[in-house]
Structures are given as C-alpha cells and as structure tokens.
C-alpha cells in the first residue's frame, strides 16, 4: 500500500503525518447509526468488515438434533477510519456515544498513528489524501 514518495520511517525520526487510524469493533445493528453520526461530523470515508471475535461478551450454545456446539466467537462489525489528527477525538467520542447500548458486547475503539496516506488517483499524500 506504500505510495511513490519516500517512506518517512521511524529510524529517521518520527514526525507524524497528522493522520490517525481509528479501529472500532461494534455491534452489527449499530453500523448505520454510527455511519450517519460520523458523516455528520465530517468523516468522508470508512472501511467496514464483518468479523467474528470475543471479548468480555461470552458466546452461546447452538443445538442441531443431538449435537451441541459452543459458539465462542460473536459476530461484530469492524470499522477502519482514517482522519486528520484534529478530528480523531471527536470520531472516538461519536462512536462511543452512538454504538453504546449499555449492554455487554458494545465493542472497542482503538486509535493508531498512521505512517503514510496516499490517494491512489492523484498521488496526494497524508491529510490531502483523505
């Protein structure tokens, strides 16, 4: 996924791109609500994946005729959103507020620094690539 420009690596001193990656795992039925809320605060794109996983929410048991299966992985939706630094806190707050049901299994949000971002069509980088 690296673009044409030289890599701004750790060994040369990290300056940062001014871009954050926010990874959130939420309940599937909250996806549309979260998308609407994020669009409203200016988020212009996101990646969505259907995933399975486990956290503090335990799975359940399914019975097919005589066979019982413990289903330990629970279906979730994973969002990956890349935004400028300035928007990151607001995005995290919005997800936390919108995806919340007060029940176990509401999900997690992680924030990471992004080393580089490139827009494929134009070759623009970092903030301008978003």
């Amino acid at each position: 996924m690296r673009g044409g420009s030289p890599r701004k690596g750790f060994c040369h001193g990290w300056k940062g791109t001014g871009v954050k990656l926010i990874i959130a795992a939420i309940k599937p039925f909250k996806l549309e609500e979260v998308r609407e809320a994020l669009t409203a605060i200016g988020v212009r794109g996101m990646m969505v994946t259907e995933i399975k996983g486990f956290g503090s929410q335990s799975g359940h048991t399914e019975i097919y005729r005589g066979a019982e299966y413990a289903v330990n992985f629970v279906p979730k939706v994973k969002l990956e959103i890349v935004v400028p630094d300035g928007l990151a806190d607001q995005v995290v707050e919005t997800i936390a507020k919108t995806a919340k049901t007060d029940k176990i299994g509401d999900g997690k949000v992680f924030v990471l620094d992004v080393e580089q971002a490139v827009r494929v069509r134009t070759g623009e980088t970092d903030d301008n690539a978003l």
Partner: protein, 515 residues
C-alpha cells in the same frame, strides 16, 4: 403364508355357505321354501362359485395418468429434495459433494434398473423365486407397450412401462438415502461401487421378497382351480394350484404388510447407513469441531420437497387412483404433521427451543413411519403413529446416538431405520378394522373380489416382527460385508487432508458457492 393359506381356505368354505344364505332367506320370506328347493339352491350356488375364474385385463387411463405423476413425484423427492435436505445439513465445504452423491447414485441406479434391476426385483426367479427374481426380463426383454402388470383390483391392470418407471424411482432413492450416514468423508469412487453392489445384492432381493406376488386375478384363478381340483379329488391339480398361490416373495408369504416400502426402503437404507457409519468411522474433529449445518434454509426446502414427493411414493404405491389412494394421501399428511409437531414440542420441552431442524426432522420421521402403513391405517391411527415416531426418533437422535458415540452424520439410522421399524410394527396393529384400519387384503376367500381378511392380532404382529428382524439382519449384515469388500479393495475414506479441505474441491474440483 401356510397359516394364512389355511385360514383363507376355511374362509372360502364359510363364504360359499354364507353366499347361499340370502337366497334361502329370500325364499323363506316368500313362503315357498321347501327343504329340497333350499338344498338345490345352495348346491347351485356352490357349483357356480367353483366355475373356472376368467378375467379381462382393463387398463384405466386415470390410473396411468396418476401413476405417471406419482413416478415423477418420487423423483422430485430424490433430486432435488433429498439432495438439498442432506446438502443443507453438512458444512459449506461438503455441500456440493452431497448434491453430487445423491444425483449420481440416482442416475446410475436408473441405468442398472432397466438393465437388470427390474428383472431381479420383479420377474420369476426359478428355484430362488422366494428370494430374488431372475434375468428373464434383463434389458427389459419381452416388455413392450402392450405388456401389463397387475394392480390391487381384479381386472384392473397397469402398463408395464409405467410400473417399471414407478418402481425405478424407489430403487433410485433408497441407496441415495444411505449417503447421509457417512457424509463428509466417503470417497466418491468407492461410494459408486458400493451403491452398485448394494442395489444388486440387497435392494433388488428385498424388493422381490416383499413385493413379488401374482396379483389379484392370478390368485383368484389359482384359488378357483385349487377348489375345483379339491372338489374333484384331484390332489395333483390342487397341489399345483397351491404351489402357484404360494409363488410369492418370502416376506409376502409370511403375510407381512408393507404398503410403500417401510422394510424395503427405510429399514433397509437405515441399516446400511448404520453399517456404513460404523465401517467408515467418525469424521475428523467429530465432537470437537463445529459441524453445524451450513444452511437450514436448504434443508427446509429439501424436507418440504420430500413431503410433497412422498405423496407419489405412498399414494402411488396403491398403483391405482381410487379410495385407497385417497386414504394414503390423507395419512401422508396426518402422520407427517403429527411427527413434526411431536418432535418440535419434545425438543422445546427438553432442550429449550422449538427448532426448525427438529420440525423438519420430525416431518421426515413421520413420512418414514407412515410409509408401510399409508394404505392400511386410518387417519387417526396415522396421527398416533406420527406422534410416537416423532418422539421416539427425537430421543434416539438427541440422546441415544450420542451415548452410543455413533457418527451417523445425518441420522439415516435414527430417522429412516428407527422410523421404519416403528412404522412396520405399527402397520400390523393399525391395519385392524376395529381401529379403523383398512383390514388385511384377502383375494382368495371369494375369488375375483377383494375381501377384508380376518384380523388376527398375534399373527399380524408376528408377521411384521419377522419381516423387521429379517430386514434388519439381511440389510445390516449384507451391507456390512459389502462395505468391508469395498474397504479392503479400494478403501472407503478420503485422506485426512482431503477431509479437512472438504470433499467439494478435492473430490469434485468445484465449490458449491463462489462468492
């Protein structure tokens, strides 16, 4: 049959005396009766009953139309019904293998049937006639558009082509039923070889033993000849006629009843499945990996198509379109619904959820159980039969199978074997006219007509039990030997890494779903 024969003979005597009674009563009422006239009247009646039986063979267009529909309905049970029912129950990586196995077996057995299967099942077998037919009709020799086979009504016959096609669909579905027992692990080539051997050595003889008989007109003719010969003191003639009367399949001669194939199809397939899952062993990861069905939607579609097609199977087994056809249709509704509901409530009560899979499984168990009883039991008898079969099969599948540590993957024994046994035994009880049953058919006490035979609970139940025990042993041991033969010559199972990858890609080079 010896017992039955004796009773039929006695009943025949009774009937001829009885037949004379109305004449006597009428004469008495007119007040002109004299002892001499009365005796002459009775003698004339008896002599009339002893005239040789002559008959015409009439083919009814309605029967032919119905049997044609019934035949394709049974095909609908197999493909796509059974294929989807089984396919939905396996994991995604084995879906296509189930569809292919069922489809391929159906097509292969279709060809075997017209080459020699029909002949082995439904032709005279010479010295072996009690057990299996011969090769006189191999490649359908001697069969053409003018040849006819008997139905269950005197004077009503069916084109032989229609009968061949109808019975062919039974031979096609039965080996296909077995594949569920060792789903997700059998080698396709070995399965085809086993299926060919199995229909040849197990299915065709079973069909012959249960369903090979002379038909109403032949029985009437021979019974009349026997009575005439006996009256004339011609013991050789009587003996020949008696031998003809007894020239039926072994199990038919025991007096066992199997309307549409409880023994031939379901116990037979169930036992082969049991032998197969023991011989092949458990799937890799059994009891550890999640082996949940990949699509209960497919299973529901398949189960529903089985139900629809089963009307052809059960009601078609009457070979005619008449009131017994109607009875079989109604019974195929009632027992099926009862078993589905029974399984659903039993599971809801004991396992906490009314599951779709439970409902569909119960429906299939009910269909299996009512198969031998469909033309004999009353609708209310079928209702009780369905309830019993639904609960019994649920208990076996949900509890007993796990305790026995059997990987009968799709419950071929638990549903077809056990359901078939319950149905076959219950048929002997529910046929009782006192319980609303249609009664045991009797074609010989008044030759040329169908009478309701005397019902003897002990005799009937023992006949059914003997048929069940025989089928369990013959199919169980025979299938075991055939599996063993295939195992030592070409192996039964795919390699472990093939099994992990799934049979679809490894065996067939395709996937069921590409998305």
């Amino acid at each position: 049959m010896t017992d039955l024969m004796k009773r039929s003979g006695l009943a025949a005597l009774g009937a001829s005396v009885f037949a004379a009674l109305p004449a006597w009563a009428q004469e008495a009422a007119t007040g002109t009766a004299e002892t001499a006239t009365e005796a002459v009247g009775a003698a004339t009646e008896a002599a009339a009953a002893l005239a040789p039986y002559v008959y015409e063979k009439a083919v009814d267009k309605g029967d032919v139309a119905w049997m044609t529909v019934a035949t394709v309905l049974v095909l609908l049970m197999t493909v796509p019904g059974l294929a989807l029912f089984y396919g939905g129950l396996v994991r995604t990586k084995n879906m296509l293998s189930m569809l292919t196995q069922v489809f391929a077996i159906s097509a292969v057995v279709c060809l075997i049937w017209v080459c020699y299967g029909y002949s082995l099942a439904f032709s005279y077998g010479g010295a072996m006639d009690a057990y299996v037919g011969g090769f006189s009709k191999a490649f359908l020799a001697g069969v053409d558009a003018t040849t006819l086979v008997a139905t269950f009504t005197n004077g009503i016959w069916l084109p032989e082509y229609t009968f061949i096609a109808f019975q062919m669909t039974f031979a096609m579905i039965t080996p296909a039923l077995i594949v569920g027992a060792f789903a997700e692990r059998i080698k396709f080539s070995s399965l085809l070889v086993f299926s060919v051997l199995w229909v040849t050595l197990i299915y065709f003889p079973m069909a012959h033993m249960v369903w090979w008989w002379g038909g109403p007109d032949f029985l009437a003719e021979q019974q009349t000849l026997k009575l005439i010969a006996e009256a004339a003191g011609d013991s050789a003639g009587a003996g020949a006629a008696a031998a003809n009367l007894a020239a039926n399949g072994l199990i038919w001669n025991w007096g066992a009843l199997d309307f549409a194939g409880g023994t031939v199809v379901h116990i037979n397939a169930g036992m082969a499945g049991l032998a197969g899952c023991i011989m092949l062993g458990k799937r890799v990861g059994y009891g550890k990996d999640n082996m949940a069905p990949h699509s209960l939607t497919m299973t529901m579609i398949g189960g529903a198509l089985l139900w629809v097609g089963w009307f052809g199977f059960n009601a078609g087994s009457n070979l005619e379109a008449n009131a017994i056809t109607s009875l079989a249709v109604l019974n195929t509704f009632v027992a099926t619904a009862a078993a589905g509901v029974a399984w659903m409530f039993a599971e809801w009560l004991l396992r906490g959820h009314p599951s779709l899979l439970g409902l569909v499984s119960g429906v299939v168990a009910g269909l299996v159980a009512v198969t031998p009883a469909s033309g004999f039991a009353s609708p209310m008898g079928s209702l009780v039969l369905g309830l019993v079969a639904g609960v019994a099969c649920f208990f076996f599948v949900a509890y007993v199978k796990n305790a026995l540590k059997l990987d009968d993957s799709l419950d071929v024994f638990g549903i077809h074997g056990l359901g078939g046994i319950i149905g076959a035994l219950a048929t002997g009880i529910l046929v009782n006219p006192a319980l609303g049953g249609a009664g045991v058919p009797d074609y010989t006490s008044v030759p040329g007509t169908l009478q309701v035979g005397a019902y003897d609970a002990g005799f009937m139940f023992m006949a059914q039990l003997k048929a069940v025990i025989f089928t369990v042993c013959y199919s169980g041991i025979g299938s075991f030997v055939l599996f063993m033969a295939v195992k030592v010559t070409m192996g039964l199972r795919v390699k472990e890494d093939v099994e992990r990858e799934g049979l679809d890609v490894a065996e067939h080079g395709e996937r069921a779903y590409n998305y």
